[in-house]
Amino acid sequence: MVMISPLSASFLPLPLAVLLLGGGTLPLIGLLAEKTGLRRLRELWAIAFSALNLISIYLLYQELRASPGRVIVSSLLGSPPLAGCFEIDTLGVYMAGCVALLGFLAVVYSYHYMEEESRLTEFYTLVLLMMAGMTGVALAGDFFTLFVFWEMMGISSYVLVAFLKYRWGPIEAGFKYLIMSATGSAFLLLSMSLIYGMSGTLNFAYLSASLRGVEPSPWLLLLLATLIVGFGVKSAIVPFHTWLPDAHPEAPGPISALLSGIVIETGLYALMRVTYLTFTPSVYRSVFAALAVITMTVANIMALLQNDLKRLLAYSSISQIGYMLIGLSTGTAYGLMGSLLHILNHSLMKGLAFLAAGNITHQTGMRDIEKLRGVGRMMPYTMLSLSISLLGLGGVPATNGFISKFILFSSAIGAGMPILAVAGVLNSALSMAYYLRVMKNFISTPEGEFEAEEAPALMVAVNLLMALLILLLGLWPQPAIRYADAASRMLVEGLGRYIQAVVGR
């Protein structure tokens, strides 16, 4: 089963290699650009590499699809149990694909959005490295590799949040984010040590083989709690979410989109992967269910009366994490499929929402919903795409958000947790209130306190493309469902194969 792929025979999987290469060379290119005066070179470079990343993911996926259930193992120096390694399966590729898609869109969007800022070389380097970090997390085959890329993603994102360092907001937010997130990492490290202590290995396949299904001992439960804290801080599960409403709004628009759209989901993905590999769902089910409900409810209530558009969206991201936790807590392939699908859909929707909000702040310099009355009439395309994303976030049919939510709630009912589904739908209805409030204010008649023009064409084009994708995946969800289904089956049904692919070599 295990084959050395031409795409991953090198010691890094191709997407990762592309991103690292891009990130690594960007400072040079930046320098070159400064020297030659071709200032747009670094943007184009970043766009090129994120596009390449997308293509390489596609190639990788094609290769995996050629023989279903296949796991590609590529290791850094030496054999899996000891060395850091990547185990590429459909699940990892799916996640990396989400990263690549949103990353590409955000980078393209930045072309115009960031043009007024300085230090752009740094910016694009960090963006590419952050994407590399996430891709690494997605493809990691052992905990240690995961941790390394996790930190890569973390550190880049800390800096990116605080990128506009001449303002107080980003700094404050960045510091809070850093402290909390690093605490999470420390817990992650601690949980790694616990796993190591219990199984003697950090390789997913091996640890799964030795830990999964054993009688839950206090140590194991301690491990689970530590893991939840470790990943929970990054993925902003209530009550570890307190950094998020500060950090996401203060970052530049495309970074907010990336952070909310995919970074926190990467946390969730890692949580999903590690807990599922380490524990049987019966152990964590109720805890995750409780966390899901708490997360959704608290975040939705907090979002209700926010006046800051981006802050509102940030709270909404937290609540969306709650929905994804529903799928996690069911522990079934169907539920996980819902979670994965929602990761993709949410990355599009929230990415779009933040990008559209970026348009608005870019054109008006304001984020206050009340003051922005009527902005939608001045920026119709932005408004259209923002509305589509918000409706999608609210789970209105014909958007992809509905599809994934309905699978999530359906899985909750299927797993015998109808209460969870009810909590989910009620929260979903509650969340509609604030999305509506935003839309209502924006499409109202302007009160003439400000004037705004439609954002530059490229930004709008990105927005509209994403809006189109949202509708497309909402009306014809089949492709997304197929990938998410394959991914979740890989995790649930392919567990043995996964272990065997690595261990049985």
Binding site: L82, F144, F147, V148, E151, G154, I155, Y158, V159, A162, K165, R167, W168, G169, I171, E172, A173, G174, F175, K176, L178, I179, A182, T183, S185, A186, F187, L189, L190, M192, S193, L194, Y196, G197, G200, T201, L202, P245, D246, E250, M302, Q306
Partner: protein
């Protein structure tokens, strides 16, 4: 197993100290130190476990700790840079003054 206990106790204590530090200290630099303590608790755990697990010194645990230290270093460095900037904006190192962003 018994040989592990002192280590585990100290890991636990370090964990408490680190968290306590993060919770109680106002000074941003001290908070970073608390963070470092937290990391080190985990590192210590690794080292201790790498000793006791296989009966020999497991290179895996050791190497991970080496790597982790590098990574914390980066984090702390970024943190310090932010402290600097924060000081510029707020004129203080008191973290509780950094509360313009809330609700």
């Amino acid at each position: 197993m018994n040989a592990l206990i002192p280590y585990l106790v100290s890991v636990f204590l370090l964990l408490l100290i680190g968290l306590g530090c993060l919770m109680m200290k106002r000074d941003m630099i001290r908070m970073l130190i608390g963070l470092e303590i937290l990391f080190n608790a985990a590192n210590l755990n690794f080292v201790a476990l790498s000793l006791s697990r296989a009966g020999f010194v497991d290179p895996l645990g050791q190497s991970i700790v080496m790597m982790a230290i590098v990574l914390d270093g980066c984090v702390i460095a970024v943190g310090l840079a932010m402290v600097l900037n924060a000081y510029k904006h707020y004129g203080t190192l008191d973290v509780r003054k950094l509360r313009r962003l809330r609700w």
